[in-house]
Amino acid sequence: MASSTVAAARVGPASRGPARRARREARSGLLFALPAILFVVILFVVPLVLAAWMSLNDWPLIGSPAFNAPDNYVAISENRLFVSSIWFTVRYTVVVTVIYLVLALALALLVQNSRPGVGFFRTAFLLPAAVGLASSALLFYALYNNEYGPLGDLLRAVGLVEGNADFLSTPEAAFRSTVAMVTWRFAGFFMIIMLTGLQAIPVEVYEAARMDGASWWQTLRRITLPLLKPTILLVLVLSVTGSLLAFEPFYILTQGGPSNSTVTMVIAMFREAFTLFNLGSAAAIAMVLLVALVAINVAQLYLLRDKDTK
């Protein structure tokens, strides 16, 4: 009771002038937003500025930093591990993005209509996405182990390989095995995104197409794909961003090997920082990653906007 009269007394004078009310609103708004502002400024903006500054300094793990621009950038451009990691990461990104797009769409089309049991299948395809990426990589590490996992025996029984299956010992096999692992982990995740996009397409459009006697393929090409474009671009952005920043799959499954053939850009950065303790060069790699990613994302968003206005 007492608190409500106090609150009413406070509301009274404040509502007298619109300017005062606006000021009060601004103050309340700022107060509510304060935690978010603190998080964004202290844990995001400040580190971002610091990363730019670190990349211009010789910054050892212990000891005082010294300004040395542009040495770090020159050093990483001559760093063969980092330069080769760029091509490896780009290749990985292209391969998995194509796989995600095709497979996610195929899975979504498969389970888009409601029929008995379809909910079970959706959940089954999505379930690997609940398992952490690190756990998935460890799980496949054991699966790929010929003495422990059943996969080698299984492939031999089917007749796909002869002798001992080779999962992680050559660069090409390590690459393929990792792609298989992330496909298992992410296909259902991207399927759900495609599915929400498919379900946003009005049923009437499909009915009209059927009336006109369109075949399944024509419906897909002329109706589903064009109307699904925003969703496809969302999958594209998520997949490209995630894959360019791939760390866990290779760090855990292949450990960057054999002989550094599966080192991604983030693994190269991680080694620079926490194996060589060269935080300045690591920050320079981080800045390169940042600029590349912002450029790619802006290009993709531009693509998305272009399609929307058409």
Binding site: S4, T5, A7, E25, A26, R27, S28, G29, L30, F32, A33, P35, A36, F39, V40, V41, L43, F44, V45, V46, P47, L48, A51, M54, L110, G117, T123, A124, F125, L127, P128, A130, V131, G132, S135, L138, L139, A142, L143, Y148, P150, W184, A187, I192, T196, A200, P230, T231, L233, L234, V266, F270, A273, L279, A283, A286, M287, L289, L290, V294
Partner: protein, 301 residues
């Protein structure tokens, strides 16, 4: 519709058409059952592919000589060795729970307050805050983790579970703020106006009335925060230097690399099962809330 327009009056076309239609319907029924068989075969085969590794992991964690100590059937030896591994399983589960709990609570508090502010108030810097939060999505996590590591060392907060949680809350903010802002913006203004007239403060209205209305969005935000924090690998790997503070994923990877003795794939399987079960359970129970996260996102796209 098409029949009426194409039928020329005076010509008896109905009988053959009807006949035709029946035949076509029969053919359609046949092709539908063929399609059904095709659907169930394909879906079942894919289910084996997707669930196979998970089921194998569960099976491998309780079978084989390392699990049973040489006896047949199933055994729990893998789990017993996992419990004794390193600083002890309960220690790693506790660490992971602390990081996850703090991340979920922190994300919810900051997102609810911030989302309310963004949806209902106009204040200086409002757009800047929204853009700043969305920019977190654009910036690679490793780009911020290296300077954050330096900053935390500087203020003596390295090797701390709280630091890991704070950083994970920041990573969850773009999604959290976006979801909560939309949830509050979707509520009728009358709801809180009535509360304010009754003498509630803004905070009181939020706590007593609005929170109940945005609970579904909070479940979605909390679930995403839970899954991200429970499974996060890179952040704790960089920040935590003391093995006693490791979270489950970091502890499992060091188990795999044999940092604390021999590589024990049996105990590793047990660890994967222990780590995955909370997430799998949450997924099966709350899948609809998980999917809402994407529906809200596709409204934007």
């Amino acid at each position: 519709m098409t029949t009426t327009t194409t039928t020329v009056p005076g010509r008896p076309e109905a009988p053959p058409r009807l006949h035709d239609r029946i035949r076509r319907a029969g053919r359609r029924r046949l092709s539908r059952s063929v399609a059904d068989a095709g659907f169930y075969t394909t879906a079942a085969a894919l289910t084996v592919l997707f669930l196979g590794p998970l089921l194998w992991s569960a099976w491998a964690s309780v079978s084989g000589p390392r699990a049973t100590g040489g006896a047949g059937g199933i055994g729990t030896n893998n789990y017993e060795r996992l419990i004794d591994y390193g600083a002890g399983l309960e220690r790693y589960v506790w660490n992971t729970s602390v990081v996850t709990g703090l991340t979920v609570i922190g994300t919810l508090v900051v997102s609810v307050l911030g989302g309310y502010a963004l949806a209902r108030f106009s204040f200086p810097g409002k757009n800047l805050l929204f853009i700043g939060a969305l920019a977190i999505l654009m910036v690679p996590h490793p780009t911020i983790l290296v300077p954050l590591y330096t900053m935390l060392n500087f203020v003596g907060m390295q090797n701390s579970l709280v630091s890991v949680a704070l950083v994970l809350v920041m990573f969850q903010l773009p999604f959290g703020l976006f979801m909560m802002r939309n949830a509050f913006a979707g509520l009728p203004k009358e709801l809180e106006e009535a509360a304010l007239l009754d003498g509630c403060s803004n905070l009181g209205a939020l706590r007593r009335i609005l929170l109940r209305a945005v609970t579904p969005a909070m479940v979605t935000v909390g679930m995403f925060a839970f899954l991200a924090a429970w499974n996060e690998f890179l952040t704790p790997l960089i920040f935590l230097t003391d093995g006693r503070n490791f979270t489950l994923p970091v502890a499992l990877v060091s188990l795999r690399s044999g940092e604390l003795g021999t590589i024990d794939l049996g105990a590793l399987q047990a660890g994967i099962v222990v780590t995955a079960i909370p997430c799998l359970l949450m997924f099966v129970l709350l899948q609809r809330h998980y999917v809402r996260g994407f529906t809200a996102g596709s409204v934007r796209g």
